[in-house]
Amino acid sequence: MKKIEAVVRLEKFDAVKGALEAEGFTGLTAYRVRGRGRQGGVRLQWRGVREFRVDLIPKVKMELVVDDGDVERVINIISRAAYTGEVGDGKIFVIPVEDAYRIRTGERGRDAL
């Protein structure tokens, strides 16, 4: 099993979520984060008197634990749905998972996903 961690634009989250669901990947966990990459950060106004740089910009981080065989597909789905071509589209990381457990049933491993 692998955990796919994707950091995507806030405004793309619905599209990504929908695309995953359409392909049968319903299980996921998501939360708001603030991130910085090569992208510069946004400039906000302070009363129009002066700008201030907010160098961490809001993103959504999604986590999906999937079977090894699904990793490529999931990366594909996410990256297509999250793509705009502009700086700030985000990153996807793949992290090993040694075990999974479903609390309700006590199932373990792949069955627990």
């Binding site: 806030l10 405004e11 793309k12 619905d14 708001r32 946004v42 400039r43 906000l44 106004q45 907010v54 705009t84």
Partner: protein, 401 residues
């Protein structure tokens, strides 16, 4: 001149001013976080733009004696509007106070409309729209119904505090906008996630509080009539809010907080034209029936898949319209409605509703269409996606989180 009346009208004017920030929170809490500042900014802009415009041209166009369709220009720039009362409107208060009180009505009306195209209007065109609509729609309609010599006033149309002039007009313009402007890109016939429901309750509280000035202040004197309007402004929204509470409970199994707040405001809109013409038990009846009618209108709006997602039409348009008609049914103070044999009054109310409805709808439709063609009224897709706070104002509501 009476110090007591003046005290009441000034206090009322301050109360009505507070309603527009009330709208800002009532609407602002219902949009998504990325758009909350834009809604607040648009509401405050209505105060600023219409406020200045009212002093320059609006007041004279609406209230100066003129012809049946529009006021004269003698009070341009408030020339001659001063300490002495203008008896045709308010014999007990300085004309300046009557002017200020009316200014607040002119200010809130466009602010009500903005709920119809929340989360997608460009700020520049919006400002222009507010100014033009105020000039071309609000000022004439206010003259017709309230202005000395206005044709609907002469006809005998009753609109105590603006159920027709303010609420029906705003709701009708909202409907026009929803027919002309593109819906939000992510609108699926359904609705949106409210950012902050306590803000909606705060807005409702400020609206109700301010509405006592709106309705009871419209007596323009502190006496029995103001007291009656006050009582009715208390009872009708209570009844309407209860109605929504019960209906949502019956329909969905749980009473809705957002729905109850919507019901309160619907009851307020409905009692507005009637406040000084009906007795308190009629006010309860008008409130309760307005609850049912506006709930139905909100359902209909959803079924029509119109993106007037904050229900300006259903709540204010239909609520105000129903109140104006109900005034023709229940009036028993200083006028006689249908229940008291006043067939003519009832028909006159229908004429008022139809005439104002038709003019506001046609004029608003044309204005939105022309402006949208000329300059584009709505933002680009990616601007909508990142939200108006950033795309239009370069700020976010909670930069720290």
């Amino acid at each position: 001149m009476s110090a007591g009346d003046t005290a009441w009208v000034l206090a009322s004017a301050a109360l009505v001013l507070l309603m527009t920030p009330g709208v800002a929170f009532f609407y602002g809490g219902m949009v998504r976080q990325k758009n909350v500042l834009s809604v607040i900014m648009q509401s405050f802009s209505s105060i600023m733009v219409v406020g200045v415009l009212w002093a320059l041209t609006g007041y004279t166009l609406a209230f100066a004696p003129g012809n049946p369709l529009i006021g004269g220009l003698q009070w341009l720039g408030l020339r001659g509007v001063w300490f002495s009362p203008y008896a045709a409107y308010a014999p007990g208060v300085p004309q300046l106070a009557q002017m200020a009180f009316q200014a607040m009505f002119a200010v809130i009306t466009p602010a009500l409309i903005i709920g119809a195209f929340a989360e997608r209007a460009r700020f520049g065109p919006l400002l222009l729209f507010i100014a033009l609509w105020s000039l071309l729609v609000y000022d004439p309609v206010a003259h017709w119904v309230w202005g000395y010599g206005g044709w609907l006033r002469s006809l005998g149309v009753l609109d105590f505090a603006g159920g027709i002039v303010v609420h029906m007009a705003a709701g009708t313009a909202a409907l026009a906008s929803a027919l002309v402007l593109r819906p939000r890109y992510d609108f699926d016939g359904s609705v949106i996630e409210p950012e902050n429901v306590p803000f909606v309750a705060l807005g409702a509280a400020l609206l109700w509080f301010g509405w006592f000035g709106f309705n009871a202040g419209s007596a323009l004197a502190a006496g029995g009539l103001a007291s009656l309007a006050f009582v009715n402004t208390f009872l009708a929204p209570a009844a309407a809010g209860l109605t929504w509470m019960i209906v949502t409970w019956a329909v969905r199994g749980k009473s809705s907080v957002l729905g109850t707040m919507a019901g309160l405001v619907a009851g307020l809109a409905a009692i507005t034209p009637a406040a000084g013409y009906v007795d308190p038990m009629s006010a309860i009846a008008i409130g309760a029936s307005a609850g049912l009618v506006t709930y139905g209108a909100a359902l209909l709006r959803v079924r029509m898949r119109l993106d007037d997602s904050l229900d300006v039409w259903a709540i204010h348009g239909v609520g105000g319209m129903w109140g104006a008609i109900a005034t023709g049914i229940f009036a028993d103070v200083g006028a006689a409605g249908l229940l008291y044999g006043g067939v003519r009054q009832f028909l006159v109310q229908l004429v008022g509703v139809a005439a104002v409805g038709a003019y506001v709808f046609a004029a608003s439709l044309a204005l939105f269409k022309l402006m949208d063609l000329a300059m584009g009224f709505t933002v680009k897709r990616h601007e909508e996606a990142i939200g108006l706070d950033l795309s239009e104002h370069g700020e976010t509501a909670y930069p720290e989180i």
